[in-house]
Every structure is written in C-alpha cells, then in structure tokens.
Amino acid sequence: MSKNKFTILEATCVPIPLENIDTDQIIPARFLSATTREGFGDNLFRDWRYDKSGNKNSGFVLNDPGFSGEVLVAGKNFGSGSSREHAVWAITGYGFRAVVSSFFADIFRNNSLNNGLLPVVVPDDFLKKLLELIKQKPQTKVRIDLGKQEFTITDTGETVGFEINPYKKECLLKGLDDIDYLLNIRDMITAYEFRNTLKSKL
C-alpha cells in the first residue's frame, strides 16, 4: 500500500518547550479504546489542552491562536514511555507532518516513520534558539528538505543537517511501505524458517 510522501515541507511551527514529553501526555490511555486510526487528533495533548470540565486551557499553545502550523517543536526526549502508535496518529490527525526535537524515544521514532511523520533531530543549542525564536515571532517559517536532509529557518537562512536512516528516507520520499517490502521477501522468510528447523534438529 502506498503511503503519503514526504519531500519538502515549508511551514510555521507550534512550540512546546518541555522535556521528556511522554506518549501518555500526547494521548492519554483513556482515549485508546478505539479500533480505527481516526479521530485521535481531537484528543492530542488532551489533559494539557482542556481542564477537568472540558474547557480549553488558554495557556496551552494549541489553544493560542497566535501559533499554528504543520511542524511541532518540542524539548528533548520527545515521545518516551508507552509504545502506543495512537500518539503518532494523534499528532498527524491534528495536522502535523514533522516533529522537531533534539532527541526522540526509539519506539516513537519508528512509529513516526511508519506513518509518514518526520522526526527531525537538531542540536540542543539550535533547538533552544529555535524555540525562543518561535516564541518571539510565531510566524517564523521553517523549511524541511528531506532529500538534502536539511532543516532551515527560512527568515535567517540558518541551516542544520539532520540524520535519517537511508532506507527510511527512501521510503518517505517515495511513499513506500515496510510491509510491501516484507511481503515481497516471504520466500526468503520461509527459507530462513526451514534452515532454522534443520539447525534445531542437528
């Protein structure tokens, strides 16, 4: 099945300058009782976004009309904790296409890449500067060029490179899917199973 491609994204950002944002904050467990991938965006950061009575917390950035865009910028160690892919579905469901941080938790990063959400790792000091810049100037635009592996602050032209696994990069650029790849090598998988059964009998 082909997936959404990611090539170049130019957009404004939404900043959350907190560290260690875990997936329970991104989507609390009580919203996981669903059997489809849709609708999670409504509850993205639910308990930071709404108070106990369901009213919007005006202090939270998603409720601040000054900030909008397709790039989420967050403090280091983003996406730790639970493996719930629902966290990624909540972020993409809300409309984000990339998350920028100086450090991502492993499972979250895999889940993002499997859903066409690009995790962009930038240096710590660059992240601090970027968060400050967005706070001062919410209309700050950034450009993410996956092909060149470059993240640029459009206004200033300041650019940093970012790392991505070459295979995963290819998948995102072309909208390819891991499962298609694996289905194509089922013969190889069966041969592995056969070799293994033999080995265990020796």
């Binding site: 329970d24 489809t36 403090g75 904790g81 639970s82 493996s83 889940n111």
Partner: protein, 467 residues
C-alpha cells in the same frame, strides 16, 4: 572468532536479511498481542487482502482495559467491550490462540508469556506494548513495537529494526534487607535518567543480578524501557532452567534436553565489547521512591527532593513536574500522607510480589484512609495466591484480592486514582495522569507499598520489618 555479546548472538541468529544502509529484517519467534494495540493491525491486513502468515506464533490475551471485579459479567464500558470483542473475533478468524476474560490462562500479557512457557531463552519476542522488555529476564531479545509493526509481524513474522547499541549494567554486592529488585531498577533509572539508555539494548549482569529469582529479574528487565532502552536481558542460568523446568508445556516438550544444551551457550563471551558499561554497588541501594512525573525522578525513600538545576532536565520541566506532584525542591517526602496503594502490573503483579506484600501486612491492619487495589497479574497468579491462603491474609488485614488485569497501572478501566490524590504504586510509570487525570503517582516496591498501606504515609519499609 571475535567475542560476541549475548545480544548480538541472538540478534545475528534471527537476521533474515540485512538491508544496505538500513534496518535488519529480524525474524520473530513469538508474537504477543492484546486488545488495545492490535485492532488497527488486523484492519490493515484486511485492507491488503492478506491473512496472518504464521498464526501459531502469535498468542493473544485481553488485559489492558478490562475490569478487575465481576469479570463474569459483561464489560460495562462500551468501547472497551467492543475492543475485547474485536480481539476475540480477529483471533477466531485468523486461527490465533486467545485467552479471554475468565480463561484460566488469561492475564497481563507479560505475566502470561513467561508463566505459560512462551518465553524461552535465545528467542525473539515482540508485542505492541513497551514493557515487552520483561521477557528479557530469560535471555530473550524482547521489545515493544507500534501497531504498524504488529501488522508487519502478523503479515510476515518479521520486523524491520535497526540494530541498537549495547550497554552492560553490572550490579555487584549484597542487597540490604527490604531492598528489592524494584529498588535496584528504580535506582539504576534514577542514575541514568528517563532517556539515558535510549538507542541501547541493555544486558544486566553481576552477582546481585544472578542472585535474583526469575520473578525479580522480570521486574528489572520490565523497566528497561523507563530509561529509554530498547530492551534489557539477563543471561540464562540454573535459575532460568529451574523456572522453565516447572512449566509442563516446556519441561514435557520432546526437545527440552537439547534446548537445555543450546541455552548453555547463551552468555556474552569473555572480552565482548559493549558500547557503554555501567557498574553499581548493591550496597548503595536503599528502598526507592519517585517524587516526579517520570521514572528517572527517583530517590531513596529517606532522601530529599533535589534542587532545580539544568542537570535535572531543565528548570521549567523539572518545576512543572514537582508542581503537578504538589512537592517542592529540597524537601523530604517521608511521612507524607497517601490516599491510594496499588499492588500489581506487569512490573510487580507476580506471585512473589503478592507474597511479599501479604507477609508484610500479615497480622497488621490497613490504614483507614487508604484505598488499596491489590491486583494479581494473571489467573494463574490469582489461583496460586488463593491456594497459598494469601487472599485470607490480605482479607484479615483489610485488603481485597481483585481479579487480574493491567488495572490502575494505566487506568483504562475503572481502577482510577482521583485528581490530586497521592498514590503509591508498584507499577512502572508515574507520568502525569497515568493513573487517572490529575492523579499523583509515586513508584515503589511491593514492600514499600505494604508499609505505606499500613501507616497511610510514606514509610520506610526497613522501619517496620518483622524479625
């Protein structure tokens, strides 16, 4: 031959194909699924028009959202009920073994796997749950995956994974009384921080680790993910073999003897190189407690909450966390009043944990202000607790043994801690809202939980030890 780590030995023997500049295609020996992270994966198969590739290598249990009382009745919450029914239907249609509610083999996926013999040394195990690392206690490469990856495994019995780096954490020395394996891992996480092992697969070793029972080893491996590690494992030894020898499905299998011979090679070679090595002294570890909103924010129970500084995860994040907990830097929390006590979860819901708690509260009474949730990890654990009379001991002390499930660890069911209330919990995560919106969680060992349940306050279990 170049000396190899245990991790690399198992990983290498499961690589079906290495992709140039990309991840490895890794064969999965055992796949575990539950109701919350699997429905979208089955739906994906349907959309592709394919069926499960190796149904015999997946096993299912309902655990995350189920009630822990009156399990013979219909699940009241409609969405949860639908999710469980969906799992049952998906398993039926695909020929997957399923342990539903009231099934004698039902329980938390990471309690059920080991006790039924699905968890074997030298194998690979995945599950759509980050605490899959639990199974590493048997010398297994076991790790949590997302739902897209659950779909991959259902479709092809394989997963695409970049090879993690290796870390060895060695713990030597004698543990003090009332210091448990939970305290060991909370101590390690407090030293490494919540992201300190991200990108690594950990091997735990050393005399202290070797001295632990299998249940205690599972507690250690279970929380590997709480410092960001992909997983954690311990080389199998006589304790592992003895544990497996007590499981009829394993001990009675035709090739048990040849398996035993093969398992003896499962250890890191002398001189194997790790990307990172950490060494701790068990004698430095006291009963531990967390004071913040991630598992790395832990200290000894008689300790003082640190002052905010950049080292502790940045001032604003650190202070926000303490503010949520209603704590301040530089204060002690010993003696602080507590409202809820939760004993259970894939971290501490096994028979040894129930025994430890029961023996501590035997002949004592639950503090009047405490609401306690005592939740066995599986039907087997529940039955064993009853057989051993633990339910009676608990009852006489004012506690009630509930039915198995994940329960208040993530509070998807009714077992929630109300906003602003303090809970002492033997589970694995103290994130904001984890046990219910606004709930304040402090992670501890079963012994500390028992001490708190008796006094109603944060209490050092060493002060209440019986002779």
């Amino acid at each position: 031959m170049e000396p190899k780590t245990l991790f690399d030995k198992i990983w290498d023997s499961h690589v079906v194909r290495s992709i140039e500049g990309g991840p490895d295609v890794l064969y999965i020996d055992q796949h575990l699924i539950h109701e919350v992270t699997s429905p979208q994966a089955f739906e994906g198969l349907r959309q592709r028009g394919i069926t499960v590739f190796r149904p015999g290598k997946t096993v299912a249990t309902a655990d995350h959202n189920i009630p822990t009382k009156d399990q013979h009745l219909t699940i009241r919450d409609e969405l949860s009920r639908l999710q469980v029914e969906k799992l049952e239907q998906n398993c039926r249609e695909n020929g997957i073994e399923y342990f539903g509610l009231n099934h004698p083999k039902n329980g938390i996926v990471h309690v059920v796997g080991p006790e039924l013999g699905y968890t074997l040394p030298g194998t690979t195990i995945v599950c759509g749950d980050s605490h899959t690392s639990t199974h590493g206690a048997f010398g297994t490469i076991a790790f949590g995956i997302g739902t897209s990856e659950v779909e991959m495994v259902l479709a092809t019995q394989c997963i695409m994974q970049p090879r993690p780096k290796r870390m060895r954490i060695t713990v030597n020395g004698r543990l003090h009384r009332a210091v448990t394996s939970k305290d060991i891992i909370l101590y390690i996480i407090s030293r490494l921080s919540t992201g300190g092992a991200t990108g690594y697969f950990v091997e735990y070793s050393g005399k202290t680790i070797e001295s632990l029972s299998m249940e205690a080893r599972m507690t250690v491996c279970n929380m590997s993910i709480e410092m960001g590690a992909r997983g954690g494992l311990i080389a199998p030894d006589h304790s592992t073999y003895e544990y497996l020898n007590r499981i009829p499905a394993v001990a009675n299998s035709n090739d048990f003897k040849s398996l035993l011979l093969r398992w003896r090679h499962l250890s890191s070679d002398e001189g194997a190189v790790f990307d990172k090595e950490m060494v701790f002294d068990a004698g430095d570890i006291k009963p531990m407690i967390t004071y913040g909103t991630n598992p790395g924010m832990g200290m000894s129970i008689d300790g003082t909450i640190p002052e905010a500084d950049d080292k502790k995860g940045g001032n604003s994040s650190f202070l926000k966390s303490l503010d949520y907990m209603g704590f301040k830097p530089g204060v002690k929390i010993l003696g602080h009043p507590v409202d809820y006590v939760f004993l259970g979860s894939c971290t501490n819901g096994r028979i040894e944990d129930l025994r430890a708690f029961a023996s501590f509260v035997e002949g004592r009474r639950k503090a009047p202000g405490i609401t306690a949730l005592i939740v066995p990890g599986s039907k087997k654990v529940e039955q064993q607790a009853i057989n051993e009379g633990l339910d009676k001991i608990l009852h006489d002390a004012g506690f009630e043994l509930r039915q198995p499930g994940c329960s208040s660890c993530l509070a998807m069911n009714e077992d929630k801690v109300p906003a602003g209330k303090y809970a002492v919990s033997t589970s694995n995560r103290n994130f904001e809202g984890r046990q219910g919106p606004g709930a304040r969680t402090m992670l501890v060992s079963p012994l500390t939980a028992a001490a708190v349940a008796i006094t109603g306050r944060i209490t050092d279990p060493r002060d209440l030890l019986k002779d």
